[in-house]
Amino acid sequence: MVRRSPPTSRIELLQGTLDLIILQTLRWGPAHGFGIMKMIQSQSSNTLQVETGSLYPALQRLLRQRVIAAEWSVSASNRRIRIYRLTAKGRERLAAERSQWKRLTEVMAALMQRPASDEP
């Protein structure tokens, strides 16, 4: 899904998180595919790198679920580009998934803080 990078600097995305990240990114406004990719990169300080091979299928998937919508526009370099934006349904989904994500990270954090006795 996401390029396997040196473990130190980059994190492998959990399955399903990409959708959430795309929705979160689109919260700031419509964007095209390349823009979404760049924003994810810069917001994660280059820790997360999304491949086109994952991004576009995810976009198609989200389109089918009607949480995002797309329309054609023309770029500065005069090329036809597809601009994606959140739909109302997408906003609801994002809100729901964010709270869920928050709970998950809290639980994970709590779990990880316990001393692991069986670790070498």
Binding site: H32, F34, M37, T52, G53, Y56, R64, S77, R80, R82
Partner: protein
């Protein structure tokens, strides 16, 4: 394929869009790299490398399909794949499709008849309000005896009906146009057409309130007659035609396809409708309360159900019985029954037709079972292919869908072929359907038939697709794949399913075969039944004396005036070549063929002296015919006691009658019938003396051996519808021509028509039975064939499956007989279980059939035993053929395998 084309186009557009989007992405990535300082060349290479998979767009486009689109695509893929597999297995495909086509074709054919005859309403507005009124004398067992004018008038005042019209069918000589011809005419009341709610295509119908007591001088004619006799001339209105010796004016022409709603096919083909008030010339006895016209049709008043109307009629009948005790003595129990018009027309067709429909349903069931079995066998043979496909990643649901697609495809092709068969066979089906399967609606294939056929095949396809699917779910990959190269066969489960299917096939086959055997035996019994008369070599030709409306114009007003004509017909007829004997009788004297207008039911009054019969004047009802003295000898009806008519019994001598044995036994059980006296109607003044007793004849129906019958002399009681009986070596066409010549030499106005051999009449009276018998026998044969095929399949697969085991047994010294027994036991077992289950079904079917059987008990042990034995022996042969292969198993090859 248009869907395929549309899909391809949609996909191409999606791919273009995605390519464009991804191209823009690449451009932007490149621009960014250049902005960061990379050379354009490096930027391009790196951007490409980062980008990864160049086929992404196509992949995405495929993924992007909506669920339905993908489903359609997969379905068409499945269908294409299925078509390929079918091409690889032509024998299997052909047998399967043929089986389905046979089942669906047979069902669709029968359903098209059921649909037209039983389901579609009569072609009149609010046909559900239309009824036929039938008068019964319940206590005497006489049904539908006819109605009188006073009764008709009373019923009209009962408030139960908006209109009632008597209908009285007759034949007439139509002149006044190019060629004189015989036409069927239905004498009706002026309100007849408005009662039915039909309009003429030309002119008008009668004024429904016309008060003329006799004929009003107007006729409405059929479209057929208008075209045939008047060349579709639109000036036909107002033309005067002669019916017999009377003139009528044509006032209207009915539209094409209009038929009179009558039961008898002759009456349905009515071409002329005269109207009368049934209360004047030429009917002189109209005021009497004794049956005059054969019956009436009526429309129940708006807002009343038929049951409501029946209650009102019952109340009226009750009142009338009190009012006229002499006409309606309690001993005859007069009733008026309302019969829905459609039921009346259908007569006793409904039951045999539903019975046929049930039988064809069983055939369809067998066809489905066979196909399920075939598919199951095939799935077993393909289990390796299925396992490989599953191992390569096809999910079970995908595989099941593939199998389902195959079976649905097969059944739809079979269904289409079946509809085609039914369509092609619709002519011959009609040919087999006897005339008595009355239908005002033509038997046609309408959308309902096609819908039912396709619905059936679709349901069948899904149902028998389920059997192999259950197998896929249990597919054990490792096991199947491990059996490299070796023939794979069904597990125990599959064998069980297959055997259960064959058991079902045998059960249904046995049921059908027993039904067929019972019908065939009934039919044979009927063919061999002693008729009581000898039809061989007898030809009947008909004539009819005119019945002028003005009785003073009648050339033959009574028996005395008719006698010279009769004698002359017999004299001239006897002189014709090849003719040995000639007799004349009334229409009712023709055995097994008396159209409604010839039916003569006499209301006899027995003499008081015949104290054996309660000592009162109880009227009894009996069929009567008038004959000349030669009649009994010509038909070889034996005289039991007393004497027959002689030439001395004339209109000037005392009235005499001959009765049959049944009548003598029934009405004079304790005294000698000879010498007893009866009156031929309650108002008759003269007594008629019984002079002789003759043997019973099955003249009413071949199935009715004992039927009271009284014969009068035609020289004493005249008849206007005459039948000329000729015994000798004559050809029907020639004798009709010759007799016409002779009769018209006596009176040129007399028509001579309807020559038919008595043998043919007897055969025709059995044709509804022959129809049912042939159909059921054909169904049973198909069922047996399919069941045999099923058991053949089961055994031959078992032989393949256990080839190795058999080889080992042979190597260890098993005898041929041991091997044969081993293999055949299973098949025969299946057949026996099937036969056992089938016996239960057959017993039930036989109970339902009891009413249409003759000369054989429904639970006839002989039939049941013989059919079961036959079925089991066919099963044994079907098992033996594949079992022989087991004998040829080479132990070496089998064990090495």
């Amino acid at each position: 394929m248009r869907i395929g084309g549309w899909l391809a186009w949609r996909r191409a557009r999606e791919t273009d869009d995605l390519n464009e989007e991804l191209g823009a992405h690449l451009d932007m990535a490149m621009a960014e790299r250049i902005a960061r300082g990379e050379s354009p060349h490096d930027a391009k290479l790196n951007a490409r490398r980062d980008f990864g998979n160049p086929g992404l767009a196509q992949e995405l486009a495929r993924d992007q399909w909506s669920v339905v689109g993908r489903w359609i695509e997969q379905a068409s893929q499945d269908a294409r794949f299925a078509a390929r597999t079918f091409r690889r297995a032509p024998a299997f495909t052909a047998i399967t499709i043929a089986t389905i086509a046979l089942g669906i074709g047979a069902s669709a054919s029968i359903f098209s008849v059921v649909n037209s005859v039983l389901l579609r309403p009569l072609p009149y507005p609010h046909a559900e309000q239309l009824v036929r009124l039938e008068d019964d004398y319940l206590a005497t067992g006489a049904r539908d005896v006819g109605m009188s004018t006073p009764e008709w008038r009373d019923l009209q005042r009962s408030g139960a009906f908006s209109a009632i019209s008597p209908t009285w069918f007759d034949n007439n000589n139509l002149t006044g146009q190019a060629h004189p011809e015989r036409v069927g005419l239905l004498i009706v009341a002026p309100n007849y057409f408005s009662l039915l709610g039909v309009q003429p295509q030309l002119g008008s119908v009668f004024d429904r309130n016309d008060p003329t007591p006799g004929f009003n001088g107007q006729v409405v004619i059929s479209d057929g007659l208008w075209k045939r006799a008047f060349g579709s001339d639109s000036t036909v209105l107002g033309r005067v035609v002669q019916l017999d010796s009377d003139s009528y004016r044509i006032v209207g022409v009915m539209p094409p396809g209009f038929q009179a709603p009558e039961r008898a096919s002759g009456a349905r083909g009515t071409e002329v409708w005269p109207a009368m008030g049934f209360a004047g010339n030429p009917i002189t006895t109209w005021a009497q309360r004794s049956p005059l016209f054969p019956g009436a049709i009526a429309r129940v008043r708006d807002g009343l159900s038929i049951a409501d109307a029946q209650r009102r009629v019952d109340a009226l009948v009750e009142t009338l019985r009190h009012q006229y005790p002499a006409d309606y003595p309690a001993t005859i129990d007069w009733r008026v029954r309302l019969v829905p018009l459609r039921d009346y027309i259908l007569g006793d067709v409904r039951q045999p037709l539903l019975f046929l429909f049930g039988a064809v349903g069983l055939v369809l069931l067998i066809a489905c079972t066979s196909v399920a079995n075939l598919l199951l066998i095939r799935a077993t043979a393909r289990s390796r292919e299925l396992a490989v496909r599953q191992a390569m990643g096809s999910g079970p649901s995908r595989l099941m869908r593939q199998l389902l697609t195959e079976s649905v495809l097969l059944s739809l092709v079979g269904g289409a072929l079946g509809v085609a068969i039914a369509y092609a066979a619709r002519g011959s089906i009609l040919h087999w359907v006897p005339d008595s399967v009355a239908q005002l609606n033509a038997v046609t294939m309408d959308w309902r038939v096609v819908l039912v056929a396709f619905g059936l095949s679709l349901v069948a396809g899904v149902l028998f697709g389920l059997a192999p699917m259950a197998q896929v779910r249990r597919l054990d990959l490792t096991n199947v794949l491990k059996q490299e190269g070796r023939a794979t066969t069904g597990s125990g489960d599959q064998q069980r399913t297959r055997r259960a299917l064959v058991v079902a096939e045998f059960a249904v086959s046995l049921t059908l075969m027993v039904a067929a055997a019972l019908l065939v035996r009934s039919f044979r019994e009927l063919l061999n039944a002693p008729l009581g008369f000898d039809p061989h070599g007898v030809t009947v030709v008909r004539t009819r004396l005119p019945y002028p409306n003005d009785s003073t114009e009648d050339l033959y007003p009574n028996a005395g005036a008719e006698a010279p004509l009769l004698r002359e017909i017999i004299r001239r007829g006897s002189a014709l070549g090849g003719v040995r004997e000639v007799a004349v009788g009334s229409g009712a004297a023709v055995p097994l063929d008396h159209p409604e207008q010839d039916q003569a039911v006499l209301r006899l009054v027995l003499d008081r002296r015949a104290s054996a019969n309660n000592g009162d004047n109880t009227p009894v009802w009996t069929t009567a015919s008038e004959v000349t003295p030669e009649y009994f000898h010509l038909l070889r009806i034996p005289l039991v006691r007393g004497r027959l008519f002689t030439s001395f019994d004339t209109d000037s001598s005392p009235l005499v009658a001959v009765v049959n044995e049944s009548m003598a036994r029934q009405y004079w059980p304790h005294v000698d019938a000879i010498g007893q006296r009866v009156k031929t109607s309650p108002r008759a003044t003269q007594w008629t003396t019984i002079i002789g007793i003759v043997g019973d004849t099955r003249s009413d129906s071949v199935t009715a051996p004992r039927h009271p019958q009284i014969y009068a002399s035609l020289y004493q009681r005249q008849g206007k519808h005459l039948a000329i009986f000729v015994r000798g070596q004559v050809e029907t066409g020639a004798i009709e021509r010759n007799l016409r010549e002779q009769v018209q030499a006596i009176n040129a106005a007399l028509p001579v028509f309807g020559a038919r051999s008595l043998d043919e009449t007897v055969t025709a009276s059995l044709s509804p039975r022959r129809f049912a018998m042939m159909m059921i026998a054909a169904f049973a044969a198909v069922a047996l064939g399919l069941a045999s095929l099923g058991i053949y399949g089961v055994v031959s697969f078992m032989v393949t499956e256990r080839g190795q085991e058999i080889g080992v047994r042979v190597a260890l010294g098993a005898q041929r007989s041991d091997v044969l027994r081993l293999v055949m036991r299973q098949g025969v077992e299946v057949a026996l279980i099937g036969a056992g289950v089938g016996l239960v079904g057959a017993l039930a079917a036989a109970r339902v059939m009891a009413g249409i059987l003759y000369g054989v008990r429904a639970w006839d042990p002989w039939t049941f035993t013989a059919v079961t034995a036959g079925l089991v022996s066919v099963a044994i042969v079907a098992c033996y053929l594949p079992a022989r292969r087991a004998l040829r198993v080479d132990p070496l090859l089998a064990m090495r395998g």
